[in-house]
């Protein structure tokens, strides 16, 4: 990706933020627009902080400060993910200059992710993703009563491939963009990639059947529709479709044709 910093040559005096608000889960959503002065190097989070200081809408109405999640501010924790100008991404790495250059206007639209329960304003509950990690047993059993000794050797190719999958920060971009993902209809790319990560590990391989079983459930891997939006939106550039297709092969070989070995 091209990381050369783009700057607005003629920045506007003020920027408008159109934010989707919701009091609490289940309440009706409403839109509020805020206007803040433009300043160099704003990202969406620093703009939200600016709005929080003085939560008055553009038409002068006093309101509550918008709620959002944030933590690392360097795109490695994934918690500040939201839908910015219609597209899912992390708000910490969404630079206002880039957004304004892309739209050509001076308005930025912020919405919570649509595929998760909306707790309040821009905050969502992503617990479902962690349930899915449990469903595919996305860990390796190591704790025991005796020392297992040094781990097995891993070739650099496998280590490299596993490293890419290990970069997943459970942000939810892939699920938000996936046309097959909604509610619990489909487990989604992130859990499949984590199953792949641990299936590739020489020790984790021992529980491969358990992971494949998790992916075999009603909401499992078979619900993938091959639209590959996950590949396009993943902020960590994880080859999520590859994880799905490698796992498809494992399932074809081990389960679909498994009876041929009996």
């Amino acid at each position: 990706m091209d990381h050369e910093k783009k700057r607005l040559t003629k920045p506007p005096q003020t920027i408008k933020f159109k934010i989707q608000r919701r009091e609490k889960e289940g309440a009706d959503a409403r839109w509020e627009t805020f206007e803040i002065p433009y300043r160099r190097n704003l990202n969406v989070i620093s703009a939200l902080m600016e709005i929080r200081k003085n939560p008055v809408t553009a038409d002068g109405k006093q309101t509550t400060p918008p709620v959002w999640d944030m933590s690392c501010l360097e795109q490695v924790c994934g918690i500040c993910t939201m839908v910015i100008n219609g597209r899912v991404r992390q708000s910490c790495s969404a630079l206002v200059d880039d957004l304004l250059i892309a739209t050509g206007g001076n308005t930025v639209t912020l919405q919570p992710m649509t595929k998760f329960p909306n707790v309040r304003d821009l905050k969502v509950d992503r617990e479902r993703m962690f349930d899915h990690l449990k469903q595919v047993k996305a860990w390796i059993d190591l704790d025991g009563t005796y020392d297992l000794g040094p781990g097995p050797h891993i070739s650099s190719e496998v280590a490299h491939e596993r490293y890419v999958y290990s970069r997943c920060m459970t942000c939810g971009c892939c699920l938000e963009a996936c046309p097959q993902y909604s509610e619990d209809q489909y487990i989604g790319p992130q859990a499949i990639a984590q199953a792949r990560l641990f299936n590739m590990h020489p020790v984790g391989k021992a529980e491969m059947d358990e992971r494949l079983n998790g992916l075999m459930e009603e909401n499992g891997i078979a619900n993938c529709g091959n639209a590959q939006n996950c590949l396009q939106v993943c902020p960590m550039s994880i080859p999520l479709p590859r994880a799905i297709y490698e796992t498809n092969r494992d399932i074809t070989v081990n389960s679909l044709f498994g009876w041929l070995k009996k």
Binding site: Q180, M216, E217, G220, N226, Q228, R242, R249, D250, S255
Partner: protein, 239 residues
């Protein structure tokens, strides 16, 4: 630990298999028979007669075509209902293909229903009422009479093009979902092959439609065999 199949998993895999093995194979046979109409009514009708002469025909028709077709199309429409279409927000080629596979599928559901009632059964009032089944020697005349109407020709052209795409891209999806083609580069090549197959099947299919309107379809007539005498006269009698 044994791996347990879920109902969804088995239904999906069955959906993928039925699309390729009975239906995809049948499509090639069907296309071949239709293309023989390029060589004139007699040749086509004789080929239709050949199909009528297949042993256990009803059995093959029911278990090899009707049941897989009913399953593939009904379950396919159900799968399409799951889609949360977002091509405008995420306008990538593969996302469009994902949508297009569902659109062509739903269109084909209605098209094939129409096609079967129209020709196989001859049951649509106001249109053809002679079933091709059991009337092999009238097959060409039934179809060409129907193709006098412009909108019917248009519907069949759309049907042929939708089938070409749905089958070609569906074959690509099959090899992907069964873990045969995995890598990004390999998939790019396979998609190109699928698109090429779709174009060839589409063009050949459209020519098959037009060969019921004019000899040899859209091709120069010199390419086609001059209509020959009916086999039923030249071939030795059976007994």
């Amino acid at each position: 630990m044994a791996i347990k199949f879920s109902t969804t998993f088995l239904l999906r895999k069955l959906h993928q298999v039925t699309g390729i093995v009975p239906l995809g194979m049948f499509y090639f046979v069907h296309l071949y028979t239709n293309l023989t109409s390029m060589n004139g009514p007699k040749v086509f009708n004789d080929h239709v007669q050949d199909i009528h002469d297949i042993p256990f025909l009803l059995f093959i028709e029911v278990f090899g075509i009707f049941l897989p077709l009913a399953y593939h199309s009904i379950y396919g429409v159900l799968i399409s209902g799951e889609a949360k279409v977002n091509v405008l927000t995420y306008p990538y080629a593969r996302n469009w293909f994902y949508l297009f596979q569902r659109i062509t599928g739903i269109f084909l559901f209605f098209f094939l229903l129409f096609h079967l009632l129209n020709f196989r059964f001859g049951l649509i009032p106001g249109l053809n009422m002679t079933p091709v089944a059991g009337h092999a020697q009238e097959a060409f005349q039934i179809v060409s009479r129907e193709f006098q109407t412009a909108w019917i020709v248009a519907v069949y052209i759309l049907g042929v093009l939708a089938t070409a795409w749905h089958l070609a891209y569906g074959t690509f999806l099959f090899v992907v979902d069964w873990g045969v083609v995995i890598g990004e580069k390999a998939q790019k090549l396979t998609i190109r092959a699928a698109i090429a197959l779709a174009i060839v099947l589409g063009l050949v299919g459209v020519n098959a439609v037009f060969s019921f309107v004019r000899p040899c379809g859209l091709m120069p007539q010199s390419l086609c065999e001059s209509p020959r005498a009916s086999r039923s006269i030249t071939a030795p009698s059976r007994f």
